[in-house]
Symmetry: D2
Subunit: 487 residues, 4 copies
Amino acid sequence: MSLEALGSPVSFLKEMLGPVPNEDVLQEYEVWWVEGQAISDDIDRRGTPWLRMFDRFGNRVDEILYPPDYWRLLKKGYEAGVVWRVFDENSLMPFLLLGYVTAFHDPGLNCPYTVSLSTAVPLDKYGASELKTRFMPPMLRKEGLPWQGATWMTEVKGGSDLGVAVETVAQPAGDRWLLTGEKYFASNVGAELAVVAARPEGLPRTVRGLALFLLPKYREDGSLNYTVRRLKDKTGTRSVPTGEVELQASEAFLLGPQEHGIYLILEVLNLSRVANSISAVALAQRAMADALSFAEQREAFGKPILEHPLLRTQFEERLRDLRRAFALAWEAGRLLDEVWREGYPYSDRYHLFRLVAHLSKYWTAEVGAMTAKWAMEVHGGLGVLKEYGVERWFREAMVAAIWEGTTHRHVLDGLEAMERKGAHRLLFAHLSEEAEDKEVKELSSRVEAHLGLSIEEKEGTAEPLFWNLAKFTAERLLRKLEAGQPG
Amino acid sequence: MSLEALGSPVSFLKEMLGPVPNEDVLQEYEVWWVEGQAISDDIDRRGTPWLRMFDRFGNRVDEILYPPDYWRLLKKGYEAGVVWRVFDENSLMPFLLLGYVTAFHDPGLNCPYTVSLSTAVPLDKYGASELKTRFMPPMLRKEGLPWQGATWMTEVKGGSDLGVAVETVAQPAGDRWLLTGEKYFASNVGAELAVVAARPEGLPRTVRGLALFLLPKYREDGSLNYTVRRLKDKTGTRSVPTGEVELQASEAFLLGPQEHGIYLILEVLNLSRVANSISAVALAQRAMADALSFAEQREAFGKPILEHPLLRTQFEERLRDLRRAFALAWEAGRLLDEVWREGYPYSDRYHLFRLVAHLSKYWTAEVGAMTAKWAMEVHGGLGVLKEYGVERWFREAMVAAIWEGTTHRHVLDGLEAMERKGAHRLLFAHLSEEAEDKEVKELSSRVEAHLGLSIEEKEGTAEPLFWNLAKFTAERLLRKLEAGQPG
Amino acid sequence: MSLEALGSPVSFLKEMLGPVPNEDVLQEYEVWWVEGQAISDDIDRRGTPWLRMFDRFGNRVDEILYPPDYWRLLKKGYEAGVVWRVFDENSLMPFLLLGYVTAFHDPGLNCPYTVSLSTAVPLDKYGASELKTRFMPPMLRKEGLPWQGATWMTEVKGGSDLGVAVETVAQPAGDRWLLTGEKYFASNVGAELAVVAARPEGLPRTVRGLALFLLPKYREDGSLNYTVRRLKDKTGTRSVPTGEVELQASEAFLLGPQEHGIYLILEVLNLSRVANSISAVALAQRAMADALSFAEQREAFGKPILEHPLLRTQFEERLRDLRRAFALAWEAGRLLDEVWREGYPYSDRYHLFRLVAHLSKYWTAEVGAMTAKWAMEVHGGLGVLKEYGVERWFREAMVAAIWEGTTHRHVLDGLEAMERKGAHRLLFAHLSEEAEDKEVKELSSRVEAHLGLSIEEKEGTAEPLFWNLAKFTAERLLRKLEAGQPG
Amino acid sequence: MSLEALGSPVSFLKEMLGPVPNEDVLQEYEVWWVEGQAISDDIDRRGTPWLRMFDRFGNRVDEILYPPDYWRLLKKGYEAGVVWRVFDENSLMPFLLLGYVTAFHDPGLNCPYTVSLSTAVPLDKYGASELKTRFMPPMLRKEGLPWQGATWMTEVKGGSDLGVAVETVAQPAGDRWLLTGEKYFASNVGAELAVVAARPEGLPRTVRGLALFLLPKYREDGSLNYTVRRLKDKTGTRSVPTGEVELQASEAFLLGPQEHGIYLILEVLNLSRVANSISAVALAQRAMADALSFAEQREAFGKPILEHPLLRTQFEERLRDLRRAFALAWEAGRLLDEVWREGYPYSDRYHLFRLVAHLSKYWTAEVGAMTAKWAMEVHGGLGVLKEYGVERWFREAMVAAIWEGTTHRHVLDGLEAMERKGAHRLLFAHLSEEAEDKEVKELSSRVEAHLGLSIEEKEGTAEPLFWNLAKFTAERLLRKLEAGQPG
């Protein structure tokens, strides 16, 4: 591949994937980012925006004081079709491709797009028809800023063990429910609609007791349906406002059958995890591109530092990792594109997808963070100055690494998918085209042996296994991509 | 070792080293940090301070507007003896031990102490007697804030290739020199004295053309001897002001014979690198301590997350790495304590020290950064919030990783020490007590083979070798420490 | 008087008042401010502090993240006796004198002291004995930081028309009450105790329906008794945290008989208004001192600008205004010192005090703001730079002008005191020592004529009358002071 | 007039002036400000932007990091014709009218427009033809952002006494000059062209020794012609970057004959002063409009506070002052529009203009500041919160009051115009249409008497005289306007 492609997400997508749908849209969107980057850099530089809680007359308004540029920036991706094209084309590809271009320039901005889609999808799949009639059109608006979505699960006690941590209670009230509780990490907190996890009154404090609700920002009379306690002061992803939300008898609508609530919640999370992987890869590409452009120009000992053998080796190894990570994340995307319309009970294809998604979320986060760290080192002292923004990519990368479940979560959930659904067998079959595949056989035996360990040992030593499985999968998928590539 | 010791740098020092000199001083200093930490956190939170360039009457003053608390904080380490005890006790140990306690709470604050010492040492070793008479007493003051030092080498073209990058010119003027040029990363920029690299007029643009000068902040008439162009807006180490300095015929005094200038410069850097290693280890201890205190209290799935096997394994492996890194950094310190009074030409002991220092700077920086990253992950979403300061340790760690030479520098300089001085042979002899040491033999052959490669290959593939050498050295040194440890 | 005294609040107090009680304490406190000023400047420069709502473990803590220096600064005034001496000496003088020295350096810092006293006084006068036993000792602690108080009346609908605007409801619960509502301008929001206005359930929506309650920050079990929604981002008085408070069944204790609630509330406000006047005068002195020190050194057209006749005239006129304002504020203080132990029904002396307090709050606020504005102008371009802090005094002055009731409030309330209580007649008698006092007679006729106007006209044209009355009173009081002054 | 007009600068202009030229352009520009205001508010809220001094490769760039929105905002006024229309229509009216609309929304933004015009005018009047050919076209560009201008006179020793304070020296170098020195208040510091005061080498240290030079930002080879030391951290006018400029042999071109330098400098200042007056009046209108919109909606005691007689009276009096100030500023503008093409020696019309300009700058600054202060008071506690931006108008107003000469300057310069040029007689003739004008006669005698005083007395007591003269002139001019107004 050409090094030049590193500086352009669309070129990189094409080099890796061959022809892509809507290429003209992607190109135009990438060109816009010449202007958009300056906006994004500014949003990052200025830190968390203000939340104006009251207007001058004492009315609660909870308005987020981003500069006007932010809204211009945000609108572009929506208009390009990051959400509406998914429904127009009945495919996640526009979302994934546009998301990649977005995340190359601003990984945090991919969050609003993702959670908007993650709101529209369950609404479309599980919403009563009057809900869809009321809420889908403004979400699928093709011009101007559409209604945005948001997905709020986590509460103050944490996001891993939702069954216990969700304390928000839902009380039935005619055709709707009244929700009372607090959401502690409410991303895209200015959204007009959110899907939220809550526990219908009386149900048990386990994941089985959870249901998914659609929560509008405003009641039908125009009043605020909930309040925002504050915005979080995050080190990264400042292009998405994350807040704490206080629900007090806030009106909401049940999505799907209550007893399938946890499945709906997991479907939402799975979509986010794939988007997160895609973002992490785009971020890694970006960090490498910045490092490269610096190393090509900065001189030491009589030549550009890129021509020094040690740096050159590092660069090539990281480039291979980037390509592997791309292949892995993209496979997660492609599989999701096959299964996203499924519901409980799920097909084997879905279980395969789940394992790939866990491997991908886990491994791409690591590649993203390590590439960003390396880009700082390549810049030397400039790498820790706020002035140049190189350090931004690491801040962004760490949010990607932690959001949607940290390392631990994905290793353990991946383990569970292997144990309960035999997902590793589905994976090996997926990766291997020949009957005799020695590498696959070896790894397969290792996995099977691992699954037979005591729970203490199995979990305690799972990470190296999972790491190898991810890297192996990524390498295999990359070779497939390379085999299918033009030129 | 006890997990409790993780929360206390003095306890950890004692567990690792056995009895330490001036233990009461260290204990008292650690106790002070209960108050000091709140100051340090505040300094970090508020970001880069203002530089007041002019007073109300138009006089240039270049005053750094830290809050009063900063000066209280800074004074404590000086009063405890981080500089003066080195000369009183003719040993670097007080500096290293107090520096460890400092860096556990605020890695950046160890910088002013280090550069003050790095100024006093060459002044003491190489300064003319009237310079020592004039400048040593205020630097060794035992009460109140002493005069501080600073070490300014890097210019705008970079810090690796000093021979070419230093454009500051020195012109002789009687008993002193007049320096004109700019220093681009001037740490501890408010110091009363600095040692700076400059090129006496007419000398060649190589490292041989450089000399080391002592540069006071004020001229004898009280006027400013140079100006500060601005403070750098760094992501970490906000407890030390880093600025850009403009020298315009600034008065300075030559240290040592001009033709040994580059050796003096490297002696200064070597001291800083050891201090940097010590800081990186202390930082790693701190990040682990914070992760531990969180993991012991945060619950998921019915028990503290520390009791989950996967997290437990990670914790134990990182703890081993911390202990290895400690052993390596401390050996660098101990060796420096033997050789710091040496001058050119240097003994074999000095060359051994140099290699250990490169290995240590290289590897401890990595352990520091990776431990800090892990501590963020353990905290989940809280890890990326500015509110809790966990993310601070990574910011600090990256400065440690980049300052005093990045990875590339240390790998290549270490290689040079092996090639030119056979420092690897000195190292293996140092590590091995038996004639037959299979591991050492194997590694030794690998190093020798590597040194025979073409320059392209030798440099291009040096990093894995260097990594292994560092880890091996660290593990061996740790075993020695463990063997010598009480109970 | 000497111009030098302008730079020292204690010297100015002595020049104006003659010997003052506890002079040694005042002197020592003023000396401390050499250090304190740097802290205060830093607090101002850094803006509104963070509010940390939750600790790392998800417990609500509502901790205000001032730097440690803030607490050192705050403690000094308390230790000097700004509250405890009032009860030890049974006199407000220590509060007023120490407050003047405080406000000269930091007008905002006088707020915590004032509201602490304004909490202790009604507790002492009206609290049940078990409340006093429990809460007075920590408020009167002589060493370390005592418990602080706060006075929270205003809600989101405004602070003038409390009868209607207070929506906080109190429900009886055994020996205490449960308060539910919100306080919108809660000064000194970190205080351990507050006195708050609330409406016992069922009482009418008028001032008669209000009662005063004592509200501890923590319940007896150590849990938070209310939450802080956020801190206000104020342009001035950053040395006192002002927040919004959410009361949800917060435990509180009734002070005094419910039906006298509004009197208790007004007593609290009256004390604050006097303190506010004193602060405004100290601020005016400070702004003049800064302007003077600049004008003495800055040169234009061959001489210090202070020697230019136009500036000189301005300076002298402002100095006279400062002295007038001092005399007026101090009389308000002296009268309050006579009547602060009174309760409803009040004596004529109290009504006289009330009118003088309204005149003083009104006029000193204006003098403070205009002097601060003038000090900016004297500094020319430097006056609008944040670097030099001259602009701070205006920011502070505007808070003084607006807090405790704006101009409108004091003019109208002063009018009411004249109409209902004949307070103007008490005032004229107070000011005049001779039977035949032509000026008094004229002004008296003018006031009486004004009181006979229609309500539209009376209110609409009240301000020039009130202004003249204030200035006249101030001038008379100044002459009295001057007559009694030493030397 | 209707109260509604207060909320619209174009409506107010029309009410006061009758039909205005280019009304459609003004209307369109005002409509744009619905979006522009959000940008302006954001620029104000975020404070001083960053100055990026170097790019990643160590090249000095001195780039001001405003957000992209800023440039969009800035461009609008230029495109509407704030500069190019002046030359197209050979009239200052477009500049004054568009400037009024600008300043209503953002008084600071009127500065770049003003200094750009103040650069183009002397270039056009005095520049050599090759300079005009080179520089006028980019300054008069009608689409996109044109080249901007700037006017830098003040140095660190102050702006009043330029004859002594200007230390910048100009050395001849062929067809150009080399300037060395520092400019301390360099407004619109990012401009592509500046006019600067400097002293040709060897000339005396008086105003006669000064000349005016045209200074491009870049040399013909594209390199920076000077550096920016830093941006000033101002409390107001954040929509214009003000910096300190370091000139080191910076290339510049002499404008006009050297010996007329001081006249050219004063012509530049006179234009700025008129623009400043216009801005101050627009600001006063804006502050009143905000106060009004609040007072109409905020209720106390059962009715909107605007209906309370005391507030109503204040409002009406301030409205009258606003209208007077408008009439005065507009007359200064109209007179300047007659004389701006004049050069030394000047006509009587020019001297009349000068006196009116001094009166106008002096009095409108005061009306602007006091109206802004009053608007804060009307808002009560909300007036000192940063959240609502009411406090912004005062911050802006104080810059207007201090820029282009403080009070003292205008009183004394006005006095000089009366003494040396008999400008008061020209003024009285201008204001009075009848032979017998008692008020004019009285004031005239008072002025004449004043001019006969000793210099000490004349200057020391000049302010009340000047105040009265300004108010009288304003009132007379307002009556003229009112007489000529439609309906």
